[in-house]
């Protein structure tokens, strides 16, 4: 177990990177606490796998250091770091039995058979693999194989972190949910640092204590699922988390009011000096309301999607789409033509990054 410190870490696959564009991973400095569950969330190609491979040691960072409990491991090969990794496609040693698969990392490290037996049996029990222990690993289902991959990591003592690289990609949907719950329970029980790479927000939000959102090689936000929902630090986080994503509209902000297409939107806080940059407002559909009064933005409702526990109203505002969610059971008036935002929930972004206001 260990605390992971990514110290001024950056990586470029090119030998002489000339600008920020050449970096697959832009400079970050984060401390990941011991025993927590982290999710690395982002679209394909955002650098999350690069970061994961740097932590696991499959990739040597071109700049900066990785510290496990203060010890620099950036140049240590994978096998000398105490990490475990579960890959996207299940990796099992086909010709071996489940038992031998789980025993493999221990035998490679020269543990005696008695220790191997105790550890393997413990882990098999924990992962509910005891019944399959003496079967060949080859014939098992994908979810059992993923459990074996995980087990090969858990069986070792003193694993600093367990890394997951989109581990549920090939698992059937109904098993995905179960396996995720098992992982979560396992995390509570073992209290080991877990890092989980995914591009599925539900997976990330349900699994992790802290979600690290990456975009274009940058960590744009690191926070609890609630932080990501309520105060997205970057418009990308707003789009990416939540379904539908945050409404983002270009605006002019002055004091505690924003002006969009000539309409005034009251803000919960005051802002100053935002004239020069590219300013946008961001409001989650959950914090918008449909009315037919005089206030708010004039819109035309285009369609209503009923997704069960709520309805999504897609409205048109001067050619831009604005979404509003309406909880199930709340009627939608047929002549609704205005949208009102909850002033406290309107976030202001300058050049895509959030701006903190002052109490008005």
């Amino acid at each position: 177990m260990a605390e992971i410190h990514l110290k001024n870490l950056a990586h470029s696959y090119l030998s002489r990177p000339s600008g920020p564009k050449d970096y697959a991973l832009k400079k970050i400095d984060h401390v990941w606490e011991d025993g927590k569950a982290y999710a690395l969330l982002g679209p394909s190609g955002c650098g999350k796998s690069t970061l994961l491979n740097i932590i696991s040691g499959l990739l040597t960072p071109s700049e900066g250091q990785v510290l496990f409990d203060g010890e620099d491991v950036s140049r240590l090969p994978t096998e000398q770091r105490s990490i475990a990794q579960v890959f996207q496609f299940p990796v099992v040693y086909d010709t071996m039995s489940v038992y031998d698969n789980l025993a493999f990392p221990l035998r490679n490290r020269g543990h005696d058979e008695q220790t191997v037996k105790t550890r393997v049996n413990d882990i098999a029990e924990m992962l509910e693999l005891t019944a399959e222990l003496h079967q060949k690993a080859r014939g098992l289902t994908a979810d059992a194989k993923q459990k074996i991959s995980l087990g090969r990591g858990l069986v070792r003592h003193r694993v600093a972190a367990i890394l997951f690289d989109e581990p549920l990609t090939v698992i059937d949907p109904h098993l995905k949910w179960m396996l995720r719950m098992q992982l979560k329970a396992l995390h509570k029980k073992l209290n080991r640092t877990m890092i989980y790479v995914t591009h599925d927000q539900t997976e990330a939000l349900t699994f992790a204590d802290q979600v690290v959102v990456m975009y274009d090689g940058d960590v744009v936000q690191m926070g609890t699922p609630q932080d990501l929902f309520e105060r997205p630090q970057h418009t990308f986080v707003g789009y990416f988390i939540g379904s539908p994503g945050m409404n983002v509209l270009p605006a002019h902000v002055d004091g505690d009011e924003a002006y969009v297409e000539g309409c005034t939107i009251p803000l919960g806080q005051g802002y100053r000096g935002l004239s020069g940059s590219n300013v946008e407002i961001g409001v989650r559909p959950e914090f918008a309301r449909l009315t037919n009064g005089r206030e708010g933005l004039p819109v035309t409702v285009k369609r209503v999607e009923d997704i069960g526990r709520m309805k999504i109203v897609r409205a048109d505002f001067f050619g831009r789409e604005v979404n509003v969610t309406v909880p199930d059971g709340v009627p939608i008036s047929p002549d609704a033509n205005r949208i009102v935002f909850d002033p406290a929930r309107v976030n202001i972004y300058a050049d895509s990054w959030i701006v903190n206001g002052e109490a008005a």
Binding site: T78, Q85, V91, T95, F104, P105, N108, K136, R152
Partner: protein, 291 residues
């Protein structure tokens, strides 16, 4: 219960295949079978001989010797080419320009026609003008494949290894390339040694292509004719007269139609039988592993 529709006209659908197989395999084979059970003294007059030719051939020292030579030859080249092919495949670059270059180089020997391979080695090994033979002679090694039995065998074995190891290597290389990187990364994390990676990842993943490589090399080497014919002509004496060389001598050299036909049938059955044995043994092993 639903009635299954039956329509005997559907049998017509297999007619093209039946015709193709009949003309390409069954009819030619049957003419050989026909010769093998008859005797002739010319004038297109044939007499029923039953299984006499078979009995005579199987008990003849000539056939038995050729068969033993054939088995020895095939065993030797398989035990060299399979491990060597695996070894080469493991050391070929996996990507980049090096991969393309090595693939082209490896494919080269496979593109050369059999008789040209024979000619190349026939000249290469000649003591008077061949690069290999003359060099050996110059440094004082007594090498002459036309007179020394050991040298003759050495030459045709080295020639076959040179010609066909590439095939095994390329097949294994394809098998290796299909292993996802995650396996090697997982093995690193598990602290596996190089040998363990080979034994538990690479070999199991190559095992299907190895089966194909083994069968192809077995069948091909068992039927080898052109190269030893060009290089040694079966000599010195009969020392490199493998089955096919012997068969051709009998059928064309001596024009013994009956015995040669019986020879062909036995030869064919041996290859068929052994291929079937290898194939079932290896696929059963495969099934056993899956349990």
């Amino acid at each position: 219960m639903m009635d299954k529709p039956f329509n005997n006209k559907a049998w017509l659908m297999v007619l093209p295949v039946v015709l193709l197989v009949a003309f390409s395999a069954v009819i030619p084979l049957m003419t050989v079978v026909n010769y093998s059970v008859q005797d002739t003294f010319g004038n297109n007059q044939f007499f029923w001989a039953g299984l006499e030719w078979y009995a005579e051939l199987i008990s003849s020292a000539r056939f038995q010797d050729a068969l033993v030579r054939q088995f020895v030859f095939t065993a030797i080249i398989l035990s060299i080419e399979i491990p060597l092919g695996i070894f080469i495949a493991l050391h070929m670059p996996k990507r980049g320009i090096g991969a393309s270059i090595s693939l082209v180089l490896m494919a080269l020997p496979l593109l050369i026609p059999w008789n040209v391979v024979g000619t190349i080695w026939q000249i290469f090994g000649r003591v008077d003008i061949g690069l290999l033979g003359a060099t050996m002679d110059a440094i004082g090694v007594d090498y002459n494949y036309t007179q020394n039995i050991f040298d003759a065998w050495l030459t045709i074995i080295v020639m076959d290894v040179w010609h066909w190891t590439s095939l095994v290597a390329l097949l294994c290389y394809a098998g290796l390339q299909s292993i996802p990187d995650a396996y090697f990364q997982a093995a690193k994390i598990d602290g596996a040694s190089r040998w363990a990676v080979f034994r538990y990842i690479e070999l199991p993943k190559m095992h299907r292509v190895l089966l194909i490589a083994f069968l192809l090399r077995f069948m091909d080497s068992f039927m080898i004719y052109t190269e030893p014919f060009v290089v040694t002509g079966g000599g010195p004496g009969n020392s490199t007269t493998l089955l096919s060389l012997d068969l051709v001598k009998m059928a064309i050299g001596q024009f013994d139609l009956g015995p040669a036909a019986a020879f062909s049938i036995i030869y064919f059955l041996i290859i068929l039988l052994l291929s079937w044995v290898f194939y079932t043994a290896m696929t059963n092993y495969d099934k056993g592993e899956a349990k």
